[in-house]
């Protein structure tokens, strides 16, 4: 519940970022105001370019949540289709899909994402592609295992005996019965994706300045860590808080959706 409330707050920030702060304050550089401690004008102080950290965090919410949700949605779609097909048909199709994904899984995800961004060039779109590709294998496995559990059920046989085609069976009978584990892992994955995106941005491969993103804010404020630790502390804590809340939400959803725990 705590997770849900805090997340609702962050979603609110992301949606109404325009109303809450002026985008000019986010990118406006002001060398006279560099590295200010917190004050009434700048609640979280200012960064090395004199930009208001509070405004940047709020706009960063929009960027980070967008990255998290889009990449998970894309990974869910691709992984969902692959996992459902692999689990339903089994045999050779299953082996081909799963072994290909296993080989992708062998590469550490951050390294894979780095390689993709490095070859495509940095930027928001390529960052999304990179972190999506590196999470598809995990998703496919989860969906496949959920499908395998449902596929042996008698109501699938019954649906076939009523004349349903494979596509109907997968879409109408299998996927709805697998939604529990899929939703739970997707929720948790959003948090992971935000962290992944932040790490890539931290490494300079993600969102490009002056767009505010929590990871790149961390990276930019690294050199001022000793003079103004708050600069590192604020984006770091925000990332941690959002990721924690998403995990709590995922746990809560699992408890709510898993009939065995009820």
């Amino acid at each position: 519940m705590f997770g849900l409330c805090v997340l609702a707050f962050f979603v609110f920030l992301a949606v109404f970022a325009d109303v809450l702060v002026d985008y000019d304050r986010v990118i406006e550089q002001n060398s006279a105001d560099r590295l200010q401690p917190p004050s009434a004008a700048h609640w979280f102080g200012t960064d090395g370019y004199g930009r208001d950290v509070f405004s940047r965090i709020i706009y960063g919410t929009r960027v980070s949540l967008l990255i998290g949700l889009t990449s998970v949605a894309a990974a869910m779609l691709i992984g969902g289709v692959l996992g459902a097909v692999a689990g339903y048909y089994g045999g050779v199709i299953d082996s081909v899909i799963m072994r290909t994904l296993d080989s992708i899984m062998c590469i550490p995800p951050v390294l894979l994402a780095l390689a993709i961004v490095a070859s495509l060039g940095p930027g928001m779109r390529n960052l999304l592609i990179a972190i999506t590709v590196s999470t598809v294998p995990g998703f496919t496995r989860i969906v496949r295992s959920a499908v395998l559990q449902v596929v042996g059920e008698e109501f699938i046989e019954a649906a076939r005996a009523c004349g349903a085609s494979d596509a109907t069976i997968i879409c109408r009978h299998i996927i709805p019965n697998c939604m529990g584990p899929i939703i739970v892992s997707a929720t948790m994955q959003v948090g992971m994706q935000i962290i992944n995106a932040a790490s890539l941005s931290f490494l300079g491969m993600g969102v490009q300045p002056p767009s505010p993103e929590w990871g790149s804010m961390l990276a930019e404020s690294r050199e001022f860590m000793r003079r103004l630790p708050l600069l590192v502390f604020v984006p770091g804590c925000t990332i941690t808080l959002v990721a924690l809340c998403l995990n709590l939400l995922g746990d809560g959803l699992r408890d709510a959706l898993d009939p065995r725990l009820r």
């Binding site: 045999g91 059920e153 008698e154 109501f155 046989e157 019954a158 649906a159 076939r160 005996a161 009523c162 004349g163 349903a164 085609s165 109907t168 109408r172 009978h173 709805p176 019965n177 939604m179």
Partner: protein, 322 residues
């Protein structure tokens, strides 16, 4: 009378890497329009395999129809394409599974599940017509139509079986295959469900194949009975032939002998000695000979011919000279 289903000399095998399971070994029977055929036999006699073969629902990786034809309205289903079979399933032939607890999808309402069958076979049907038909079929199986928006877990076992039957007959199939429809239900509900199936069958002039290991259930509902043993039909005839005649295949006699008599005190049941033969290693000659109390020399070597006594067919050497 018109023949709805004709099974001719059907052989079905399951092949795995280690072994070959001969599940159905040359069975033939036919079902006339409006007729009710009972298939009886022990577990593993090939009853369900027969049903799945008719539906074309055998697991494709391991099963092979080695020989034989399944003619539904004079079309051989064995050779037809998957899309043709799909149009027959649910529409021409309906199937009721044994366990109503698992044969309904838990995340769809019962109304949606019945409507789905209609959508599959009548794409052009308007949603109002589908709605009307769902209401009609629900009241036909004895469920108040206003319960159609409830989920399967809100129904009891007997009510769920009614829903399963509604799904199977909503498209007015010519043939209904009921694979042990009452095994998972308690005895009072069993009687209700059987009465209902029988009433619906008459009303809709459907043919039916009732699969059961319960001789009582078969006696009550069927007109023709086929007794299966180790993938073969050992005895076939009208319900009077099977239940009232004195001539029987020794296996059928054994089955009746194992039912306790209600008028006598019985301390122990009289089972048929031995076990169903291993379908990967069937005995030579008559498949029942290792358990048969009347086994003679020829039974061990030669498979018996089917003897026809006024439509009462028995596959046993004992009747060869009759």
């Amino acid at each position: 009378m018109e023949t709805v289903l004709e099974v001719e000399n059907l052989y079905v095998e399951y092949r795995t890497e280690e072994e070959l399971v001969r599940a159905v070994n040359g069975i033939s029977f036919e079902v006339l329009k409006g007729e009710n055929l009972g298939l009886v036999g022990e577990t593993g006699a090939g009853k369900t395999t027969t049903a799945l073969t008719i539906m074309g629902l055998l697991p494709p990786e391991v099963s092979v129809v080695r020989q034989g034809r399944v003619l539904f309205k004079h079309v051989d289903l064995i050779t037809q394409s998957e899309s043709y079979l799909r149009s027959v399933r649910g529409n021409g032939i309906g199937m009721v599974f044994s366990d109503p607890m698992t044969s309904l999808n838990p995340v769809l309402t019962v109304g949606e599940q019945i409507a789905e069958v209609l959508h599959l076979h009548y794409q052009e049907m308007s949603s109002e017509d589908v709605e009307d038909r769902v209401n009609e079929i629900l009241s036909l199986v004895g469920i108040p139509p206003q319960r159609k928006n409830e989920y399967p877990h809100q129904f009891s076992g007997g009510m769920r079986q009614r829903v399963v039957i509604a799904m199977a007959i909503v498209c007015n199939p010519e043939l209904l295959i009921a694979d042990e429809p009452t095994t998972a239900l308690d005895v009072t509900i069993q009687a209700q469900i059987l009465d209902m199936i029988e009433e619906l069958r008459r009303k809709m002039s459907m043919s039916m194949i009732l699969i059961s290991h319960d001789l009582g259930v078969i006696a009550e509902t069927c007109e023709k009975v086929a007794v299966m043993y180790a993938g073969e039909i050992v005895e076939y005839g009208s319900v009077e032939h099977i239940y009232e005649s004195d001539v029987h295949h020794p296996y059928t006699s054994g089955l009746f002998g194992s039912i306790p008599d209600i008028t006598k005190e019985t301390r122990r049941l009289n089972p048929i000695p031995g076990m169903m033969p291993d379908p990967t290693n069937l005995p030579s000659g008559c498949k029942f000979h290792p358990r048969c109390p009347e086994c003679i020399e020829i039974c061990r070597k030669v498979a018996p011919e089917t003897v026809d006594i006024d439509g009462h067919q028995i596959s046993c050497h004992l009747f060869a000279e009759v």
